[in-house]
């Protein structure tokens, strides 16, 4: 039995064995926003913020997350609202198939929390663990450099 605070709400769950935090979030807590695409920490689709740090939730054992505070894509903004990075991604047409989008939103939100005006190079470094196969990253970068108040 583990306790997690996810997006401000306390949950308990009984993950099995080496079940990942990602699997617990998706299959036990019904939070399917975090995506599963490689299960090896290569693609960032499963990015969540755990106790203030960006992590690949596929690489975190759920049991190990006991007692931690998690923010998933569903919790980036209050219900009915968008986090600024979410709004920027939508408005700059940075969303195509959308499978990578939650991971990008979480990683970008985490970046902007630490650094409100990152350079284009900072943005690229911070998002280098997130793979997008549709956009070629152009619109994603435009969205975030725009948010940072800087032309790419």
């Amino acid at each position: 039995m583990i306790r997690l605070t996810v997006n401000g709400i306390e949950h308990t769950a009984e993950p099995a064995g080496a079940e990942s935090l990602l699997a617990t979030l998706r299959d036990r807590l019904g939070l399917a926003g975090s995506k599963d695409a490689c299960e090896q920490g290569e693609c960032g689709s499963c990015s969540v913020i755990m106790d203030g740090e960006l992590v690949c939730s596929c690489l975190v054992m759920a049991a190990d997350a006991d007692g931690s505070e998690i923010t998933t894509v569903e919790g980036l903004a209050p219900a009915g609202e968008l986090h600024p990075v979410q709004r920027a991604l939508v408005e700059a047409h940075g969303v195509q198939c959308g499978y990578c989008t939650p991971g990008f939103a979480v990683a970008a939100a985490h970046l902007f929390e630490r650094e409100p005006s990152p350079s284009a190079d900072d943005i690229k470094e911070a998002l280098s663990g997130n793979i997008c196969r549709c956009t070629g990253y152009g619109a994603i970068l435009r969205a975030l450099t725009g948010l940072a108040g800087e032309e790419p």
Partner: protein, 744 residues
């Protein structure tokens, strides 16, 4: 990373019409994580499926014992080929692929059995516990050997012009491309729900639900109406979802157990489950007159189709028909062979046969320019085809727009980026490690032009249905077309808006029972095909509404005359619903003659790419700095989404040029993971500048052309040309390996 579309926004009477870039309706759900992809589906009481796959490239199955799997608590079913209720095989054109292995496995990863269990873990354990005894057999994995043995799916021989025509300047070359994976982010996933009456509803991410449906009900042995396919959220496709993977398996398990069954492939399985881009071997001989006039091209192409046909017949046809690029030539002789081997099956991927040959013919054009002492861009311009010309391979007169020369000129006129990488180590080639300094770098520039047909060819009855209904609140557009991420959902809204003046448009993706086929979301066809159907249907709805109101103009408020609403939408609908179903067809195509002649294609699109690379020749490392493009788009219906297609397609081309390749030894994939199959990250993505050439096409809405594939056709060729320019090496194989660049 800015872009400079030349599109001038079209003035429309309605907000969000064509030529503008409205936000996509699914953008907010997607960015919030609320959009349900096929892997996110859930049904009370559902079981989980898993697949037993062959570990051998080829083996005889001596026995399959399900007992150890069934002995695991929570396991509900183990099904094999004996359990396939209907047709035991599937496939698009040819039904040659067993739904489950038929006594012999013919490729690594071939499905042998499927299981259903209470949860994913138990299902995976059960799949591992099914006892299959294999007798490995000699696998045929060399395409050259397959050709010698006559193990082929299709042989093309495209011949045109005077076979004795010879040029004074001759260049020959041999080229290869590797096996490439679509690597869409969402792996194969679906949910099958039995209806309790012997039928089943399948929710799945696919590119063409009606084609899936044809194969599905036949193999399930049920009436067409008893199996229904619903589109669920699709996490990218790029061709990987054009063939069946888990569709029949899921429905078999659901019908057998009487329970809903969900299956999600993991990444390693995904690499095994779907087809890939054909690896190719290509021999070329180009002959030209001394003034640069291309007079004869001979080519022999071998594309390895792997174990089953899927779309190999059409991929090799594209290879052969587009084998010499968008250029004039008096005399052409192209042999194209799709081989059958024990490699994993190859089929559809963005560019569909046009990518491989472009890599070769553009290398040949550069080589020919060097032999002629000509500027390579001048050589291309000198031979560029135009609308009204005959395609030198098939003899077809090109209708509609085909602005090859303008595409080339526009791109050549774009400014090049500043010279050199500067001192910032983040702008140097190589990994994050301190491997390279600016002093080690050489810059190169490469140029390539490619083209391809749009929509299906060779007399295929290609159509798309769409239904448009007027409601008191606006318009409802219904279609079975797959929105794979490309933004068709927005474009259909825009077309309906511009056609009717009504801003409120909802697009509903409906199931196989609710509407006829929209055809495949492939071949760059949906904007023109389903878009064409929506335009005709929306215009008919508009005309009927205006007829009922006695004329005027239509808007979201109703019918206007002299700026005054004379009938609301509800008023118009008082005498009955207004709904129009249109089945749209493109201009007919013919079947090829024995020599590949005929009006085989519905239309064409051309694009060119110019790549700038920084290379460390000693380490063999490449950084693709910039890839600029000019593309023939007909009409930019949604400029922002269009640029997104260009940028995304270019990066896939960059991946194929410098890092992506499925490594297959003796039929076995060695790098079926995202750790080992390298994909471009945001740090690897070049800047892109784009020029859109808008010359209306002869069919399709507002002259628009499909734009999805051309970005991936010549971008690979351009990047490799740039690396050749930087290093002086031949580099006849894509992807280029560091070994090739360093000459090790």
């Amino acid at each position: 990373m800015t872009t400079t579309p030349t599109a001038v926004p079209t003035t429309t009477a309605v907000a969000g019409g064509i030529g503008t870039s409205p936000l996509r309706p699914d953008g907010i759900p997607k960015v919030r994580g609320e959009f349900a992809f096929s892997g996110d589906l859930h049904e009370e009481g559902m079981l989980w499926g898993a697949t037993v796959r062959s570990p051998h490239a080829r083996a005889r199955i001596l026995s399959i014992d399900p007992a150890p799997a069934l002995a695991i608590p929570g396991v509900h079913a183990v099904l094999t080929q004996d359990d396939v209720p209907g047709r035991k095989t599937c496939g698009q054109a040819v039904k040659d692929q067993p739904v489950l292995a038929d006594g012999e496995t013919r490729f690594w990863g071939e499905p042998v059995a499927v299981v259903a269990a209470d949860d994913a873990e138990t299902a995976a354990r059960a799949a591992a516990a099914v006892a299959v005894r294999y007798e490995p057999l000699d696998a045929l994995t060399d395409p050259g050997e397959a050709e010698r043995q006559g193990s082929v799916f299709r042989t093309m021989h495209v011949v045109n012009g005077d076979p004795d025509r010879r040029g004074e300047v001759v260049v020959e070359g041999y080229y290869e491309t590797g096996t490439i994976d679509q690597a869409m982010l969402g792996t194969e996933a679906g949910l099958a729900v039995p209806d309790g009456e012997g039928g089943v509803d399948l929710y799945v991410a696919t590119q063409w639900i009606h084609e899936d449906h044809e194969q599905l009900y036949a193999s399930l042995g049920v009436e067409p109406g008893a199996a229904r396919i619903h589109l669920s959220g699709i996490g990218g496709a790029f061709g990987a979802r054009e063939d069946l993977t888990l569709q029949i398996h899921l429905c078999m398990l659901a019908l057998h157990t009487g329970r809903p069954v969900k299956m999600v492939l993991d990444r390693a399985e995904s690499f095994a489950a779907h087809v890939h881009r054909h690896p190719s071997r290509m021999w070329y001989r180009h002959e030209a007159d001394p003034d640069g006039t291309l007079v004869r091209v001979e080519a022999k192409l071998i594309f390895d189709g792997g174990a089953y046909q899927t779309t190999s017949h059409a991929v090799i046809a594209n290879g052969a028909y587009f084998a010499m690029g968008p250029y004039h030539c008096e005399s052409v002789d192209v042999v194209g062979i799709a081989t059958r081997t024990n490699n994993p099956p190859n089929g559809a991927m963005r560019g569909f046969g046009a990518v491989q040959v472009c890599f070769a013919y553009e290398a040949q054009m550069d080589k020919l320019a060097a032999a002629l002492g000509m500027d390579p861009i001048d050589l291309r311009l000198r031979n560029a085809l135009d609308a009204g010309d005959r395609l030198p391979t098939t003899g077809q007169v090109i209708e509609g727009a085909f602005p090859v020369a303008e595409v080339i000129r526009s791109l050549a006129a774009m400014p090049l980026p500043d010279a050199g990488p500067g001192g910032d180590p983040r702008h140097l080639p190589g990994g994050a490690g301190l491997t390279t300094t600016a002093a080690d770098i050489r810059r190169g520039v490469g140029f390539a032009v490619g083209f391809k047909n749009i929509a299906f060819a060779e007399s295929f009855d290609d159509y798309a249905e769409a239904r448009v209904t007027l409601t008191p609140d606006g318009l409802l557009v219904e279609t079975a077309a797959a929105e794979v991420g490309q933004g068709m959902v927005t474009v259909l809204q825009q077309i309906a808006r511009t056609a009717t003046g009504i801003e409120q448009v909802e697009v509903a993706f409906v199931d196989t029972a609710a509407i006829g086929s929209a055809g495949s979301t492939s071949a760059s066809r949906q904007t023109q095909m389903t878009g064409g159907a929506v335009l005709e249907a929306a215009e008919a709805v508009r005309d009927e509404a205006l007829r009922r109101a006695g004329g005027g103009t239509l808007s979201g408020e109703g019918v206007l005359r002299d700026g005054v609403v004379v009938a609301t939408l509800a008023d118009v609908l008082a005498e009955g619903p207004i709904t129009e179903l249109v089945r749209f067809r493109h201009p007919p195509t013919t079947a090829p003659s024995e020599t590949g002649q005929g009006d085989l294609h519905a239309g064409f699109s051309v694009a060119a790419h110019r790549a700038v690379v920084d290379v460390d020749p000693d380490l063999g490392l490449v950084r693709v700095v910039q890839v600029d493009t000019a593309q023939d788009v007909g009409k930019a219906l949604h400029p922002a989404a269009l640029v997104g297609q260009l940028e995304g397609g270019i990066l896939q081309g960059v991946g194929m040029a410098v890092m992506e390749e499925l490594r297959i030894d003796d039929g076995v994939v060695r790098n079926a993971s995202f750790t080992d199959y390298l994909l471009p990250t945001i740090l690897d993505a070049p800047d892109v500048e784009a020029v859109l050439i808008e010359e209306p096409d002869h069919w399709g809405p507002f002259g628009a052309k499909g734009v999805g594939e051309p970005p991936t056709i010549s971008s690979t060729a351009a990047v490799v040309a740039a690396i050749r320019d930087a290093t002086g090496r031949d580099l006849t194989r894509a992807p280029v390996r560091p070994e090739d660049v360093a000459g090790v």
